[in-house]
């Protein structure tokens, strides 16, 4: 999602060539009038201004030939667009699945390599840390070579590092390969939102994007369920193979992908037809890389410290995300220690989180459709041209903010041997629901407040905090394990 700005940054960035600016700005208005009327009526986002539309009609070589250009991903047949939406979703699922699938294996890793619990958890944390750097890697690649390359090149590298992790004979190699597996897996997470922007007009985009947002939450929830059985019956190395079992088919499935990034499609078409390529725009070479690193790394960090909105939402979603990852540690404690599940079944307890996430996405879509959309229509009626205060994006966060403490206290006080195990499992549902509601709200709000370009930086800030917190948290909740798990089983808390 943080790469969404690629679609629209030209609108904001004065350094960009006019023609490109114009067609980037037209992204959402390139449909015919009737369709546009419909999209105005249904869309829940303010339309970008299309003041520059007139300019770009003449420069056909640098833009679509018209609103019905068959090469425009927005005009692709429905099945193709659905296909191109499922690919980033499945990749996102496979990559985030790879984070937590390791967890059930850490006890064995501890014994195999004779390391402490906290060290044995490093391969989980380093993987999550690697995920934090997705935008930094994805932005320069997709900007220069297109989105397709990101999918096709980064994921096999991630798969190779995963293979390396599974075959590791020393702890150091396990930790390092896991970090790079996360690092090279992460670009698909950040490029996916850009793909969705390419192929869906705003009317339909909300559903596609929300479904895509589900992946980073659902993946980690499924991980322990699969990894639990793998670790129990086959050993820790088998916690790595399921990642490959997911990644490889998804990769093969993705081979049919075409480029969806407008800039790259037009470049290729110009080359194919022998017409002059679009003028080189913006900074090039080192300056371009510097620009992209500014957007994905430096500016986000500055925004965290100077913008209260970014700071508080990063804090909030970072906390929520780290509690989610903290659950990966607490679950074995509760379900193996208190309820005496075996490793495989304690992973199934995460399915409550998966359910909560799904309800959360449904809530976010529904709230947006019902309330935000009303505000949008009202704004039109009042002659404000569809401008809606971004605060109206916050409804689902406001609802979700209650789900988090409710779920946590519920989990806290019913995780006892004399209360049925279904109670703590159900407690994770409101927690996960609230987590997703807050997250989707925050993402929409930040982009609305800061616009596409700075909004991407704000989101990148959010992602950095989220994944770094998610990486650090297990280390500090879980260290308790080395004594707790043994002692809980023996009936005492140390």
């Amino acid at each position: 999602m943080s790469s969404e700005f690629f679609q629209e940054k030209a609108v904001k960035s004065p350094s960009r060539d006019e023609a490109i600016s114009a067609f980037e700005g037209r992204q959402d208005s390139g449909t015919d009038d009737a369709e546009k009327g419909l999209s105005n009526a249904l869309d829940d986002r303010p339309e970008p201004s299309d003041t520059k539309v007139a300019l770009q009609r003449t420069i056909t070589a640098q833009d679509w030939t018209g609103p019905d250009d068959p090469e425009n991903p927005l005009n692709w047949p429905m099945w193709q667009r659905v296909y191109h939406t499922t690919v980033p979703g499945l990749f996102g699922l496979a990559v985030t699945f790879g984070s937590s699938v390791y967890t059930p294996g850490y006890k064995e890793v501890e014994k195999t390599f004779n390391v402490s619990t906290i060290v044995a958890l490093l391969p989980l944390s380093l993987y999550v840390l690697g995920l934090a750097f997705g935008p930094v890697l994805a932005a320069p690649i997709s900007e220069t070579l297109g989105r397709r390359v990101v999918y096709l090149v980064s994921s096999p590298i991630a798969a190779l590092f995963t293979l390396g992790a599974g075959f590791s004979n020393t702890f150091a190699s396990l930790a390092i390969t896991r970090f790079f597996a996360g690092f090279f897996g992460s670009p698909v997470l950040s490029v996916g939102a850009g793909t969705n922007v390419d192929i869906w007009a705003p009317v339909h985009r909300a559903v596609a994007t929300s479904a895509f947002l589900l992946a980073p939450f659902l993946g980690p929830a499924i991980g322990p369920a699969v990894g639990g059985f793998a670790a129990q019956y086959k050993g820790w190395r088998w916690t790595q193979w399921p990642i490959l079992f997911l990644l490889v088919p998804v990769y093969l499935y993705s081979l049919g992908m075409k480029e969806t990034y407008k800039k790259i499609i037009l470049q290729k078409r110009a080359k194919r037809l022998g017409i002059a390529p679009p003028a080189k725009v913006g900074p090039s070479g080192f300056a371009a890389v510097k620009f992209l690193i500014t957007v994905t790394l430096f500016r986000p960090v500055r925004m965290i410290f100077t913008e209260p909105i970014v700071f508080f939402f990063s804090l909030y979603t970072g906390f929520n995300f780290s509690v989610l990852f903290g659950f990966f540690d607490a679950f074995p404690l509760v379900f193996e220690g208190v309820y005496h599940f075996d490793t495989g079944f304690s992973g199934l307890a995460f399915l409550g989180i998966g359910l909560g996430c799904c309800i959360g996405v449904a809530t976010a879509i529904l709230v947006n459709r019902l309330w935000y959309h009303n505000e949008y229509l009202k704004s039109h009626k009042d002659g404000r041209g569809g401008a809606v205060a971004p605060e109206h994006r916050l409804y689902s966060a406001m609802m979700g903010s209650f789900g988090l403490p409710v779920g946590l206290f519920w989990f806290a006080w019913t995780s006892r041997g004399d209360i049925h195990w279904i109670s703590p499992v159900l407690a994770t549902v409101p927690f996960a629901w609230g987590n997703l509601c807050v997250f989707t709200s925050a993402a929409l709000y930040l982009v609305d407040v800061y616009g596409p370009l700075n909004g991407a930086s704000a989101l990148a800030a959010n992602g950095l905090v989220r994944y770094i917190a998610g990486a650090a948290f297990p280390l500090f909740t879980l260290q308790s394990k080395f004594c707790v798990l043994e002692d809980v089983v023996e009936g005492q808390i140390c």
């Binding site: 904001k12 501890e110 004779n114 390391v115 402490s116 619990t117 906290i118 060290v119 100077t306 913008e307 209260p308 909105i309 508080f312 939402f313 804090l315 906390f319 929520n320 509690v323 607490a330 404690l333 509760v334 404000r384 401008a387 809606v388 205060a389 971004p390 605060e391 916050l394 966060a397 406001m398 903010s401 209650f402 988090l404 403490p405 946590l408 206290f409 806290a412 006080w413 995780s415 006892r416 807050v438 709200s441 709000y445 609305d448 407040v449 800061y450 616009g451 700075n454 500090f476 909740t477 879980l478 260290q479 308790s480 394990k481 080395f482 004594c483 707790v484 002692d487 808390i493 140390c494």
Partner: protein
């Protein structure tokens, strides 16, 4: 001495051991209390967001 023992001996007391000091109930409650302190964030932004936005150093939406 294994790393694990070393960890237990040297560092266990330095960092608050959330789960083993508090037990599952209170450790998770601690997180619950933290989430309560953050609960007002969206509510406060809903109420005062427009004022906060105006003071931003970046271009923000005018609505």
């Amino acid at each position: 001495m294994s790393l694990k023992m070393l960890w237990k001996d040297k560092f266990a007391d330095l960092i608050p051991l959330v789960y083993n000091r508090l037990g599952i109930a209170w450790a998770t409650s601690l997180l619950g209390f933290l989430s309560l302190t953050m609960l007002p964030i969206p509510w406060v932004l809903f109420r005062f967001g427009s004022q906060i936005r105006k003071k931003s150093n970046y271009d923000t939406i005018k609505a």
